[in-house]
C-alpha cells in the first residue's frame, strides 16, 4: 500500500466523515445540543437503505433521498416534541436526553434487525478505477462525490435560503431573531431535522461500501465529536477540513496500528486537541460559514 493510496483512501473516507460531522456540528452550534443519538440516527439511515435494497432491490444510491427524508421527519419530531423542552436547560440534561433516545433506538434496532452484519452492496460495487497506479473502487468515488455534494448543498442552504438565514440568525442572537418574527421552535426542529437527514445520508452511504450493524453508531458519534472539536464548534468549513484530516490520519494509523486499534487514534486525537487547543484547529468558536 503506497502512501498515495493511503492518502486517497483517507480522503475518500474523510468526505464521508465530513458529512457525519457537519450535521452534528450544525445541531450543536445552533442549539447547543450535543446529539448523542447522532450515531443512532446514522444507523437508521443505513438500515433504511439496506432494507430497501434487500427487500425490493432498489438501487442503494436511489434510496439516499428516502433515507434523508425519513430521518428529517424523525429528527423534526424528536426536536419539536421532546428536545425543545430542554433547550434552555443545562446542556447536560440534553446530553442525557439524547443519550436515552440513542439507547431506545439502538435497542429497538437490535431487536428488529438482529446483530448480524449487513451491507447494501450493489452488483457494480466491485468495479475499480485505475488512476496512475492507484486502485480506487468506483463506488467509493461516487460516495465521496455525493458527500461533497451534500456538504455543498448545506452551505447553499445555510447561506442562500430564507430558512438557512433564519437558522443562522437564531444562533447569533436569539432575542433579536424572536423579535424579527422567527418562530424559534420550528427553526430548531428544522435544524435538527437537517442534522438528522445528513446523518441518515451518511448512514446510507456507509451501508453501500461498508458493513453496518445496529451498534455501529457510537464510533461515528465519537468521530463526529472529535472532528467538530478539531474543526471548531459550529464551523462547517472546520467540520469539512476536520473530516478529511481525520480520514487521512485514520487511514495511515490503520496501517501502523492495525484495524483493531483504529478507535484509539480517534480518541487520542480528541484528547490531544481538547488539551492543546479547545477551540479547534480553525480557531473559530461560533457558527460561521
Amino acid at each position: 500500500m503506497t502512501s498515495l493510496q493511503l492518502l486517497v483512501n483517507g480522503l475518500l473516507l474523510g468526505c464521508l466523515y465530513a458529512v457525519i460531522a457537519v450535521g452534528f456540528s450544525l445541531v450543536w452550534g445552533v442549539m447547543n445540543i450535543i446529539n448523542v443519538a447522532h450515531g443512532a440516527l446514522l444507523m437508521v439511515g443505513a438500515y433504511i437503505t439496506f432494507w430497501l435494497f434487500h427487500l425490493w432491490g432498489v438501487d442503494p444510491f436511489a434510496t439516499i433521498p428516502v433515507s434523508m427524508a425519513g430521518l428529517f421527519v424523525l429528527g423534526y419530531l424528536l426536536q419539536r416534541y421532546l428536545f425543545n423542552r430542554l433547550v434552555r436547560a443545562p446542556i447536560f440534561m440534553t446530553f442525557i436526553l439524547t443519550f436515552g433516545v440513542a439507547l431506545i433506538v439502538e435497542n429497538l434496532s437490535l431487536y428488529w434487525f438482529t446483530a448480524e452484519y449487513r451491507s447494501a452492496r450493489p452488483a457494480y460495487s466491485s468495479s475499480v478505477v485505475h488512476i496512475g497506479g492507484l486502485l480506487v473502487p468506483t463506488v467509493r468515488i461516487a460516495l465521496a462525490l455525493i458527500a461533497v455534494a451534500l456538504t455543498s448543498a448545506l452551505f447553499v442552504f445555510m447561506g442562500r435560503t430564507r430558512i438557512g438565514l433564519a437558522i443562522r440568525a437564531t444562533r447569533m442572537n436569539l432575542e433579536s431573531a424572536k423579535l424579527m418574527g422567527v418562530r424559534i421552535g420550528s427553526i430548531y426542529a428544522i435544524t435538527f431535522g437537517v442534522g438528522a437527514a445528513l446523518a441518515g445520508a451518511a448512514g446510507s452511504l456507509m451501508s453501500i461500501a461498508y458493513v453496518i450493524s445496529p451498534v455501529m453508531g457510537p464510533p461515528y458519534l465519537l468521530r463526529a465529536f472529535t472532528i467538530c472539536i478539531l474543526g471548531g464548534l459550529g464551523n462547517i468549513y472546520g467540520a469539512l477540513v476536520g473530516g478529511l484530516l481525520f480520514g487521512v490520519v485514520e487511514s495511515f494509523g490503520g496501517l501502523w496500528l492495525g484495524t483493531g486499534f483504529q478507535d484509539v487514534i480517534g480518541m487520542a486525537m480528541l484528547v490531544l486537541v481538547l488539551l492543546v487547543r479547545p477551540s479547534g484547529l480553525m480557531g473559530k468558536r461560533f457558527y460561521e460559514i
Binding site: I34, V36, L82, R85, L86, A89, I91, F92, M93, F95, I96, L97, F99, G100, V101, A102, L103, I104, E106, N107, L108, L110, Y111, P218, P219, L222, F225, T226, G258, G260, F261, D263, V264, G266, M267, L270, V271, L274, L275, P278
Partner: protein, 326 residues
Amino acid sequence: MGGRRQRALAVAAAVLCLALALAAPFVVGRYTLRFLTSTLMFAGFAVSWNILGGLTGYFSFGHSVFFGIGAYAVAIGMVKAGLPFWVSLVASGLAAALFAVAIGLPVLRLRGHYFALVTLGIGEVVRGVVSNLTKLTGGGGGLSLPIFPGGVDTIYRAFYFMMLGTLLASLLVVYGLLHSRIGYGLVAIREDEDAAQMIGISTTAHKVLAFALSAMFFGVFGGIYAYWLTYIEPADVFDIKISVLSIIMTLLGGLGTLVGPLLGTICFQLLSEFLWNRLLEFHTAFLGALMIVIVLVFPRGFIDAARGGVRGAFRRTVANVRQFAE
C-alpha cells in the same frame, strides 16, 4: 430539636438496615440472594459514581472502564499470574485508581459535556483495545476463572458479603468526605469551580482524587464480579450499561447525597425486577426511556423532590409533568 431527633432516627434506620443486610443471606432463597447481591453491587456503583458525579459535579459516562479493568486485573492475576484472589483484588482497585489518575490529569481539565463525551469515548476505546489484546486478555473470547471453593450456599453468601463489604466501605468514604475539608473542596468545585480556585482550593488535585476514589471502588467491584461469574469478556465488563445504570440510579435518588444513590438503586431494582426483567431484549430501551423520564420530570432526583415532605414532592412532580405536557 428536630435535628437531633432526625439524626437519632437516621442512625436507628441505618442500624436496622445493616442488621437486615447481615441476616439476609441466611434467611432468603438463592434467587433472592443473587438479586440482593446484584443490588448491593449496583448500589456501590451509584454511591461511588456519586463521589465524582454528585459531589464534584463531573458526570462520567465511562466508569464502566474501571469496572472492566478491575475484572481483568483479577482474571489475569489469578489465571495468568497464579495470584490468590485477595491479592488480585487489591491489584484491581489499584489498577483502576492508577488508570484514573493517568487519564484524569488530562481529561479533568475539561468541563461538563466535554468531559462526559471524552469519558464515553475512553470507555469505548479501552473495550476495543482489550478485545484485541488476545494473548493477554483472551480477546473477544474472554477469560475463565477458577471457582470459589465451597458449596453453592457458601459461594452465594461469600459474594454477597464481599459486595456488602465494598458497599459499606464506599459509604464510609462518602460519609468521610461529606464531613471533611476535602468534601467541602469537592462541593465547592461543583458549585463554582472558578470561585473555588479563588479561595485556595487546588481543584486539579481534588478532582483527580475524587476520580481515583470512585474508580477504585468500581475496580474492586469488577474484581469481585469476575470471580463471582467465573467468566468475563470485554463486551460484558466494559458494557456501557454499567456507566448508564450508575448515572440513572444516582439521578433517581438524588445527586450529591449519601443516601440518595442507595434509595435510587433500590427503587430502580424494584422497577427492574417487576417491570422489565421479563423482557430482557428491551432492557436497554427501558433504561433509555427511564433516563428521558427522569430528566424531564425529576431533574434533581427523588431526595430533592422529597425535601418538602411527601405533599411537596407530589406537588412538584405534578408541576413538572404539567410543564412537560404543555
